[in-house]
C-alpha cells in the first residue's frame, strides 16, 4: 500500500510502530492524564514535528475527556487529530503499575499515544487499526508486559506485525 507523507518521509507504518518516536518502559504515573502528559513531554523533546506542544496536549486531553481511549482492559490509545503535528507521531509507554484511565479501565499498563495531522484521516485509521489488531493478541500483550529492555519491546512490536 502506498503510504502518504503523513508517516515520516523515511518510515512506513509498520516501521513507525516498531520504532516509535518515544518509548518509555516502567513509566511511573498515578493516572491516565499523568500518563498522557508524560508521554506528550517525551514526544515533544523527541521530535521537531510537534509544532505546537500546548495545543497538542490540549487536544489529547480534550479527546480523552470526550470518550474512552482504551481498546482493552490494560491498553489505552490516547490520540488526537490536531493541526499541532506535521506528521503522524507515536509515543509508547509501559507503566510501572496499573493506572486508571477511566472508571471502566482502572488497570491500564500499555499506553500508545498518537498524534495525527488533521487531514490524515485514513492514515490515522490505518495506524489505529494496526495497533488494535496486534494488541488484541494476548500473547503479544504478555510479551510487551514482560519485555526486559526497550530493544526487546521494539522487537516484540516488529514480530507481532509480521504474524
Amino acid at each position: 500500500m502506498l503510504m502518504s507523507n503523513y508517516f515520516s518521509s523515511v518510515m512506513s507504518l509498520p516501521e513507525l510502530i516498531a520504532s516509535p518516536d518515544a518509548l518509555v518502559l516502567d513509566l511511573k504515573v498515578a493516572s491516565g492524564e499523568e500518563a498522557i502528559r508524560a508521554l506528550h513531554q517525551r514526544l515533544r523533546s523527541a521530535t521537531p514535528d510537534v509544532k505546537n506542544a500546548e495545543q497538542f496536549l490540549q487536544d489529547l486531553l480534550d479527546r480523552a475527556a470526550l470518550a474512552s481511549v482504551c481498546i482493552a482492559d490494560d491498553v489505552a490509545l490516547p490520540h488526537a487529530r490536531t493541526p499541532a503535528v506535521d506528521r503522524i507521531v507515536l509515543a509508547v509507554a509501559r507503566t510501572a503499575a496499573p493506572v486508571a484511565f477511566d472508571s471502566e479501565h482502572p488497570g491500564v499498563r500499555l499506553v500508545f499515544l498518537v498524534g495525527t495531522p488533521k487531514a490524515a484521516v485514513s492514515e490515522y485509521l490505518q495506524l489505529v487499526a494496526a495497533l488494535s489488531r496486534l494488541l488484541k493478541n494476548p500473547g503479544t500483550r504478555a510479551a510487551l508486559l514482560t519485555a526486559p529492555t526497550e530493544d526487546e519491546f521494539r522487537a516484540v512490536l516488529a514480530r507481532a506485525q509480521k504474524r
Binding site: 470526550l66 470518550a67 481498546i71 490520540h79 487529530r81 485514513s122 485509521l125
Partner: protein, 589 residues
C-alpha cells in the same frame, strides 16, 4: 478466544456486518441518486397504473348501475327509452354537482390544483382530498354518459399518488415535481396504453424539456405503468385499424389540406369550449344546476344522436374502420361538438383529450370523403384521413406535435400512416400556433399563474430553496456503533457532525471507514471526532445555483452541506436536485 457475550458488543458486530453488506452492495451496484430516482419512478408507474385501472373500473361500475347495462356508453344509451336518455346525463350532472358540493366541506381550504399546475407553477404538491372529490364527481359525469373523457381523472389520480409518495419521503421541490410528472406519465401510459406518448406528453407539454434528467424517469414510470396495465388486463393497442397504404407521393397533397383544416378547427374547438364555460358562468346558476343543465343538453342531443355520449372512443373505432356513413358522421360531428361544449362548459369534471381525438377523427374522415369524391386516387381510403386527422387535431390543440405523432402511432400501431401523420401534424401545429398562442393546456395554466404570486414558474433562485432541511447529523462524540447505524439507515455517503449548538464541524465519510468495518476493536475506540473531515466543502444558503454547482465540480459527493454564515448547519443540497433545477431553469426564458 472466549465467545463474545456482551450484548452491546454483539450488536456492534451485527451493525458492522450489515454496514459491510451495504458497502459491498453499493460498490457492486453503485446506485446514484439518479438510479434511486428511477426506482421511485418505477414504483410510481406501477401504483399510477393501479389507480388508473381502479378509476376506470369504478366509472364502468357507475355506468352499469345508472344504465342497468354492461355495454359501452353509446350502446347502452341506444337501449334506453328516450326519457331515460334525456334524464341520465342530467342526473349524472346533478350527482356530480352534489359530490362537488359535499366535497367542498371535506376539502375545505384545499385548492383544486391539478397535476399540471403542480408541476409547472407549483411545488409538486397535488392536494389529495380535493383531487379525490373531483375524481368522485367525475365518476358520475362520466358514468352517466357526459361528453367528457375519463382519461383526465385517471392521470390526475396517478399524479396524486406520486405527489403523496414524494411528500411522504420528503422530496425536495424539483424532485417532487419530477415524481408528479412521472405519475402523470404513468397515468397517460395506462389510460391510452401508450408509454412513449405518456413520457413525451409530460416532457413536451408540462416540463417543456426532453433532457434526459427528466425524460429517463418519465420513461421508466410509463413503461412500468404500461406493463402493469398489460399484465392485469388483456388490452393491446387502443384503436384497431385496418392497414393503410400510401400509393403515391401525390397522396400527400390532400394531407397538407387536412393539416390546415385541423390547424384552424382545433383552436376554434378550444375557443368554443371556453365560450361555453363563459356562457354557463354567465347564467349565474349554482354549480349543481349548471351541471344538471349541461347534462340535460347532452341528453337532449343523445335522444337522436346517442354517439355524443361518452368520450367518443367507440365512435372513433367505427370511423377508423369505415362503419359510419359520412352524412351521419357530419351530424354526429356537430352534435358531439355541442355536447362536449355543454359538458365541459357546465364544469363537469373530466378530460377533453379523448373528445378532441374524436373531433380530429371525424374532421379527417369527412375531409377524406370529400377529397375522395373529387379525386378518388388522392384519397383512396377516408379512414386513413380520420387517423391522420386525430394526430393533426391533437397536435394543433395541445401544441405538441411530437407527442401527437407518437401517441397516434402507439394507439394504432399503424406505421403505414407515419409520413402523412408527421407532415399533417406539423402543418396543423404551425397553423394553430399562428392562429392562437394558447393550447389546450396553456389556458388554465396561464390563468393560475396570474393568480400565483411570483410569476409563471416556480423559480428556484438560491440554494436555500432547494436544500433538504434536517439532514442526519452526529455529535462529535458519537461512537462508531452510532455512526454505523446512521450510515445503515440513511443511505448517505457522508454524515455531518455538529456541535451542541448545531454548528457544522465536518463530515464523516463512509469511504474513510469502509476498510475498517471488520475491526470491532477499532469500533470501540473511534468516535466521530476522530475521523471527521473538517475541510469538507460546504455551500452557503444564499449561494447561486451555479456557484453551488462549482462546489460539486471540485468534490466528488452526491450531497453537500448547506452552512449559514454563523456556521449553523441548515440542510443538505443534492447534486441531482441542483441539476434538475438548472435544467428546469434553462428551458424557461
Amino acid at each position: 478466544m472466549k465467545a463474545v457475550t456482551d450484548p452491546a458488543k454483539l450488536l456492534l458486530e451485527r451493525l458492522l456486518r450489515l454496514l459491510r453488506w451495504r458497502v459491498w452492495i453499493q460498490e457492486k451496484l453503485q446506485p446514484t441518486e439518479w438510479q434511486i430516482t428511477l426506482l421511485w419512478a418505477a414504483l410510481v408507474g406501477g401504483l399510477g397504473a393501479l389507480v388508473s385501472l381502479i378509476f376506470k373500473g369504478l366509472a364502468e361500475g357507475v355506468h352499469d348501475v345508472l344504465t342497468g347495462s354492461g355495454a359501452g356508453v353509446v350502446e347502452s344509451m341506444r337501449q334506453l327509452p328516450w326519457w331515460g336518455v334525456l334524464a341520465l346525463p342530467a342526473a349524472g350532472g346533478l350527482l356530480a354537482g352534489f359530490v362537488l358540493l359535499l366535497g367542498r366541506r371535506i376539502a375545505r381550504g384545499q385548492s383544486s390544483t391539478d397535476y399540471m399546475e403542480a408541476i409547472v407553477i407549483g411545488s409538486g404538491h397535488v392536494p389529495i382530498r380535493s383531487s379525490l372529490v373531483k375524481s368522485a364527481a367525475a365518476l358520475f359525469s362520466i358514468g352517466s354518459g357526459g361528453s367528457i373523457g375519463r382519461e383526465g381523472p385517471m392521470v390526475q389520480l396517478s399524479a396524486v399518488i406520486a405527489s403523496f409518495l414524494g411528500r411522504w419521503r420528503q422530496f425536495t421541490p424539483p424532485q417532487l415535481r419530477l415524481l408528479v410528472a412521472c405519475g402523470a406519465a404513468a397515468g397517460i401510459a395506462s389510460a391510452y396504453n401508450a408509454p412513449i406518448a405518456g413520457s413525451f406528453f409530460v416532457a413536451e407539454i408540462i416540463l417543456g424539456t426532453i433532457a434526459m434528467e427528466s425524460l429517463g424517469p418519465l420513461a421508466v414510470s410509463a413503461v412500468v405503468a404500461a406493463l402493469t396495465v398489460r399484465g392485469l388486463t388483456s388490452e393491446a393497442q387502443l384503436y384497431k385499424v385496418p392497414a393503410f397504404k400510401l400509393n403515391s407521393a401525390w397522396e400527400m397533397l390532400p394531407y397538407i389540406g387536412l393539416g390546415l383544416i385541423a390547424g384552424v378547427a382545433a383552436p376554434w374547438f378550444l375557443r368554443s369550449l371556453k365560450a361555453a364555460e363563459n356562457f354557463f358562468v354567465a347564467t349565474k346558476l349554482p354549480l349543481i344546476a349548471r351541471l344538471t343543465l349541461g347534462g340535460l343538453i347532452v341528453g337532449a342531443l343523445a335522444i337522436k344522436v346517442p354517439e355524443v355520449c361518452g368520450n367518443g372512443y367507440s365512435v372513433v373505432v367505427d370511423i377508423l374502420n369505415g362503419h359510419v356513413a359520412w352524412l351521419a358522421l357530419a351530424v354526429i360531428f356537430a352534435c358531439k361538438w355541442l355536447a362536449t361544449a355543454a359538458s365541459f362548459g357546465s364544469g363537469a369534471p373530466g378530460g377533453v383529450f379523448t373528445p378532441s381525438l374524436f373531433m380530429g377523427a371525424s374532421a379527417g374522415f369527412l375531409f377524406g370523403t370529400g377529397v375522395h369524391a373529387i379525386w378518388p386516387a388522392g384519397a383512396a381510403n377516408p379512414g386513413a384521413f380520420a387517423l391522420v386527422g386525430m394526430g393533426a387535431f391533437l397536435s394543433a390543440a395541445s401544441h405538441a406535435p411530437v407527442m401527437a405523432v407518437i401517441m397516434l402511432f402507439e394507439m394504432t400501431l399503424s406505421y403505414d400512416i407515419i409520413l402523412p401523420l408527421m407532415l399533417c401534424s406539423v402543418v396543423a401545429y404551425y397553423t394553430a400556433k399562428g392562429f392562437e398562442d394558447r393550447s389546450l393546456y396553456s389556458e388554465a395554466l396561464k390563468r393560475k399563474a396570474a393568480e400565483t404570486p411570483g410569476g409563471l414558474a416556480f423559480e428556484v433562485g438560491s440554494v436555500a430553496e432547494l436544500m433538504k432541511s434536517k439532514p442526519p447529523t452526529l455529535r462529535a462524540g458519537a461512537r462508531f456503533a452510532e455512526i454505523a447505524e446512521l450510515f445503515l439507515s440513511m443511505r448517505v455517503n457522508n454524515l455531518y457532525v455538529t456541535d451542541g449548538e448545531g454548528r457544522f464541524l465536518g463530515a464523516v465519510s463512509l469511504h474513510d471507514i469502509k476498510p475498517y468495518l471488520g475491526e470491532a476493536g477499532l469500533a470501540e475506540l473511534v468516535i466521530a471526532k476522530d475521523i471527521l473531515r473538517e475541510d469538507f466543502p460546504r455551500v452557503a444558503p444564499d449561494a447561486s445555483l451555479s456557484d453551488a454547482l462549482g462546489g460539486f465540480l471540485n468534490f466528488e459527493a452526491e450531497r453537500l452541506p448547506v452552512v449559514a454564515r454563523d456556521g449553523t448547519l441548515l440542510g443538505s443540497l443534492a447534486k441531482g436536485d441542483l441539476l434538475l433545477a438548472l435544467v428546469e431553469r434553462r428551458k424557461k426564458p
